[in-house]
């Protein structure tokens, strides 16, 4: 009898470490489901796609395994980041961190440094790992090299062109589409557009319209520097003293002051909706925010067509564009919750599911199979013609462009925000000074502004 009990005891003792070894796959109970809160930024027209996917997960795999995803907030990417920043900073009144949220690496690193994120490497097998596009996974590795930002969908920056407005303008001025391939060409076209629109109302001088805007002047500067073979950064600081940045600054200064470039504190799609802009550079994932009409202040609407063009380059520069797009982070919790969240992320990024999301929203998939094999098919099958056009352009860029990922360090977010705000403030002030009249020496002001701005950053 003693031997019997000893055998049982030994078996139990052996089973304990074995079950600990299997700690990567905690047990889930369908009768006692894990409820995970989620924030995401797939709002507007994208919300339906994400809602449908979440419902599908909850009703199938989630139900089978015992996982329930409940969306608690949907907001714009920037606002979500602000809320997450307030959580990371421990601000009074900050909301409770959700179990899963979309986040850029620049924000995720704030959480990671405080040990608030789950390392998803613990759950990702070698086979799983090999299914994803390697640079997309690498982008999500922070701090200790662990995978903290799970890739969901990627995007790059492209040029949105209101073809209807441009054609009207081009027909009268002779400006060609080729001019939109470079930033210098865009600056030139912007000056001509402002003058052309100004002449439409001869009784109101100086009411020309803006031609171009960038959703992120910081991304514009990052890409511009790399196109010219330099970097915008020196370690974790900005390097604005080089020749490349001088060219970037000058490419924007004069058109912004003269009114051809819009300095707008929001997304350029807002200006596009009212016909106050002809083209803009922004995320390929913003495609659904550009409508198919423009609404004038007297509530008349006009049907317009958009063209999606590759990201412009500085003349003589290399074809380089940013690879962006946030990922999903999982709050550090018990293994059961982390594993449940991982299963959801894995399902969401499985090639077939990922591609459905991509085809409906304008993002790029993150698995090799979806990216290399299924994407060309998805381009053809995309229901929305604008999404199809965007995917075609991005696929074309994949073949001819190099892509870069913004660096990740703790102060990156603050640094980029400060740059963006100061840059817009500077150009707005200069524009106001220009409009005030008097003697405005553009060249002199440009040199002075560049020197001061470089000095302060």
């Amino acid at each position: 009898m003693k031997r019997f009990f000893a055998t049982i005891l030994c078996a139990l003792l052996l089973a304990l470490p074995l079950s600990a070894c299997a700690g990567g796959t905690p047990r889930l109970d369908p009768k006692n489901p894990v409820t995970l809160s989620m924030w995401h930024n797939y709002g507007g027209d994208m919300q339906k796609s994400m809602d449908e996917l979440i419902d599908e997960f909850n009703g199938t795999i989630g139900r089978e395994k015992g996982i329930l995803i409940t969306v608690e907030a949907i907001s714009s990417s920037a606002e979500l980041q602000e809320s997450l920043n307030s959580i990371a900073a421990g601000d009074p009144g900050a909301p409770k961190m959700p179990d899963i949220t979309t986040s850029y690496p620049k924000t995720a690193i704030l959480f990671e440094s405080k040990g608030m994120l789950a390392n998803l490497d613990e759950y990702l097998s070698a086979e799983d790992r090999s299914a994803y596009v390697e640079p997309f996974l690498e982008e999500g590795r922070l701090g200790d090299g662990g995978l903290y930002v799970f890739p969901l969908a990627k995007s790059t920056e492209i040029l949105y062109l209101n073809q209807t407005l441009f054609d009207r303008f081009a027909a009268e001025t002779g400006v060609t589409m080729e001019s939109l391939q470079s930033f210098e060409g865009i600056a030139d076209a912007a000056a001509k557009y402002y003058a052309w629109t100004d002449t439409k109302t001869p009784d109101v001088p100086g009411d020309g319209k803006q031609f171009y805007a960038a959703d992120s002047w910081f991304n514009f500067a990052q890409a511009g520097a790399l196109q010219q073979g330099e970097s915008l950064f020196d370690g974790e600081n900005l390097a604005l003293q080089g020749e490349a940045y001088r060219r970037i600054f000058k490419a924007c200064f004069a058109p912004s002051v003269a009114g051809g470039f819009a300095i707008y504190d929001g997304y350029s799609s807002d200006l596009s909706k009212t016909g106050d802009l002809v083209c803009s550079t922004g995320s390929s994932a913003g495609i659904l925010f550009y409508g198919d009409t423009i609404t004038t202040p007297d509530n008349r609407t006009e049907q317009v067509e958009y063209s999606i063009l590759p990201f412009p380059i500085f003349q003589g520069g290399k074809k380089i564009a940013i690879q962006r797009g946030n990922g999903l982070v999982v709050a550090k919790s018990d293994k059961r919750r982390e594993y449940a969240a991982f299963l959801f992320l894995k399902w969401l990024t499985s090639p077939e599911i990922n591609l459905r999301f991509v085809a409906a929203t304008g993002y790029l998939p993150v698995t090799k199979e979806a990216f290399e094999t299924l994407l060309p098919r998805a381009v053809q099958s995309a229901e929305n013609p604008r999404v199809r056009q965007m995917l075609e352009t991005v696929t074309e860029m994949q073949a001819s462009y190099d892509f870069f990922v913004a660096p990740t360090f703790e102060d990156f977010d603050a640094l980029s925000k400060r740059y963006e705000a100061d840059y817009k403030a500077l150009l707005t002030a200069e524009r106001e000074a220009y409009l005030t009249g008097g003697s405005y020496d553009l060249a002199a002001r440009e040199e002075a502004a560049l020197a001061a701005f470089s000095q302060n950053h």
Binding site: N32, N58, E72, I74
Partner: protein
């Protein structure tokens, strides 16, 4: 002693009692302790039954349902009441600001439609109140709709209304940094003036074709100029503004100028996501429970007209569910029926309008529901746990009874074994007074028999000497006479004793257990009128040597 041995021993005792038709003391003790344990447990069971603890699963569920229903009802009732009250204040503020604007521009309120160029200015003037309202109230949107359009000559102008719909998509970060609002409707110029971004679904003006309640509300406000705003407000059914990303319930109030002109409406939205976030029942006990706020039409709750809150598959895959009461209980949960099955829960009427309101008669209800099978499962699971515990306690009690009975009888058995094996090895003390008394008594008997033997010996050697004390002849005579009454088995044992065998040697020689030998011993002693092995051996020796005290 190991537990299995205890059971083996108990089983052996039971078999022996069956075989010998006797009741060993240990079995009696076991029965006593066992019955005592069962009795105590029975009493406990009765007491718990009287206290209602036996329905612990259902009781726990009832308490949960009562708590959730009460607190959710209180919350919804208070929050919607507060929103109604503050919405009334908002309408007052917006109307007053509009009066100022009309006055500044030398305009009569009813002339707004013919002065469309003043609309953006009016909306801009109303923005601070709308923004302040959103900042300070827990709602997902605030809006104002004017009875005017910026372009009366535009196509479909008769269905177009100027206004602003400010949408907030972050219900959980009220007043927190980043809790921004967006324009879903409204002039882009006003949005830019206040630095507010346009949503992807933005449109400049409202299309009133999808909002039939608007005309109705304005009409009733015009027909009842003396009614205060607090009696005119109206909560819509579940409503999805065209191109809005989520549905919600709208609180609508008329905008009434100082001269009584109704020039538009305003209000707020409680979005589906906000409702879900704010009023989902605790899902620790019932993951599929949900709350539903719905108008009651013919006693039927209709999810397509109300809002649902809950973290369940049911709510995520919300379909139009018409839920009616199947049976109502005043003291407990009611049963509800819908096309997919049955729910268990509560339904409480919710008062959304004050007395004297034009909409006072519209019944609303808040229900807290869960699938009936979940309710039953919880009740059974908890009861199974209770009965399992009771059984475990009973088993432990019986085991304890077995152990106690065994420990109690062990000194008696040990003493008997010693007595039977060899009287010379008798223990001095056993810590049990009765056993010690018995041993003393047996010692006393031994002494008496020793004396008797000595006397017999003396009589044999010195027959002339008169014997002292009573002669032992009668005992010896009974001994010799009763040998014939022994059974064959007893005779075999007796013969071996006669040959000088020990009990252990006899068991071995006859291929029986020591207990069997002891059993025969007992019978032999009884039949031959002796009380110990020592006495047996004395008479046996005398018999073997052919000695008769009478001969002496």
């Amino acid at each position: 002693m190991r537990v299995p041995n205890i059971f083996q021993e108990a089983f052996a005792l039971w078999r022996r009692s069956r075989r010998e038709k006797t009741s060993p003391m240990q079995l009696r003790l076991l029965a006593f302790f066992g019955l005592f344990a069962v009795f105590v447990l029975g009493i406990c069971f009765l007491v718990l039954a009287m206290l209602g603890v036996l329905n612990i699963g259902e009781n726990e569920s009832r308490v949960w349902l009562e708590n959730e229903s009460t607190h959710l009802f209180n919350d919804v009732s208070a929050d919607f009441g507060t929103l109604s009250s503050r919405g009334t204040n908002l309408a007052g503020k917006l109307s007053a600001a509009a009066d100022d604007y009309f006055s500044e521009n030398g305009l009569r309120p009813d002339e707004l439609g013919s002065h469309p160029w003043l609309i953006n200015g009016l909306l801009s003037a109303e923005m601070p109140s709308l923004l302040s309202f959103l900042e300070n109230n827990y709602c997902s949107a605030a809006f104002i709709v004017l009875e005017a359009t910026v372009n009366p000559l535009a196509e479909s102008a008769e269905n177009s209304r100027a206004g602003v719909f400010l949408k907030r998509n972050e219900p959980n970060v009220l007043n927190a940094p980043g809790s921004k609002v967006h324009f879903l409707r409204g002039p882009a110029a006003v949005a830019r003036e206040y630095g507010i971004e346009l949503l992807g679904q933005w449109r400049m003006e409202f299309d009133i074709r999808g909002a039939p309640f608007q005309e109705e509300l304005l009409k009733t406000a015009r027909e009842n100029p003396d009614l205060p705003l607090s009696r005119l407000y109206y909560w819509t059914d579940r409503f999805l503004l065209k191109r809005n990303s989520e549905p919600g319930l709208l609180l609508c109030l008329p905008l009434r100028a100082a001269d009584g002109t109704v020039f538009g409406l305003c209000g707020l939205e409680v979005g589906a996501m906000q409702f879900k976030r704010q009023y989902s029942p605790d899902n620790s006990l019932f993951p599929r429970a949900f709350a539903m706020l719905s108008p009651l039409e013919g006693g039927v709750l209709d999810s397509s007209l109300g809002l649902i809150a809950g973290n369940s598959y049911l709510t995520n895959q919300q379909s139009a569910q018409r839920i009616s009461v199947l049976s109502q209980s005043a003291s407990g949960p009611s049963r509800f029926r819908w096309e997919g099955g049955e729910y268990v829960g509560t339904q409480m009427p919710l008062k959304l309008y004050p007395a004297g309101s034009l909409h006072e008669g519209q019944p609303w209800a808040l229900a807290v529901l869960l699938p009936r099978e979940d309710w039953q499962t919880a009740a059974n699971r908890n009861n199974a746990l209770f009965y399992g515990c009771m059984l475990a306690i009973l088993a432990a009690s019986l085991l304890l009874a077995l152990t106690i009975s065994r420990r109690s009888i062990r000194p008696v058995i040990s003493a008997l074994e010693l007595i039977r094996a060899d009287g010379s090895a008798r223990p001095q003390r056993t810590q049990i007074a009765e056993i010690d008394d018995l041993l003393l008594y047996l010692d006393h008997l031994d002494e008496q028999r020793g004396e008797l033997a000595a006397k017999l010996e003396a009589a044999r050697r010195h027959p002339a000497e008169p014997s002292q004390g009573p002669p032992p002849f009668a005992a010896y005579e009974r001994f010799t006479q009763n040998i014939a009454t022994l059974t064959a088995a007893e005779h075999a044992v007796f013969n071996l004793y006669m040959q000088g065998y020990t009990a252990q040697a006899i068991a071995s020689d006859l291929f029986v257990s020591i207990n069997t030998v002891k059993f025969h011993n007992k019978n032999i002693y009884a039949k031959l009128g002796i009380s110990s092995r020592k006495e047996l051996l004395l008479y046996a020796r005398m018999l073997r040597e052919g000695e008769n005290p009478l001969d002496a």
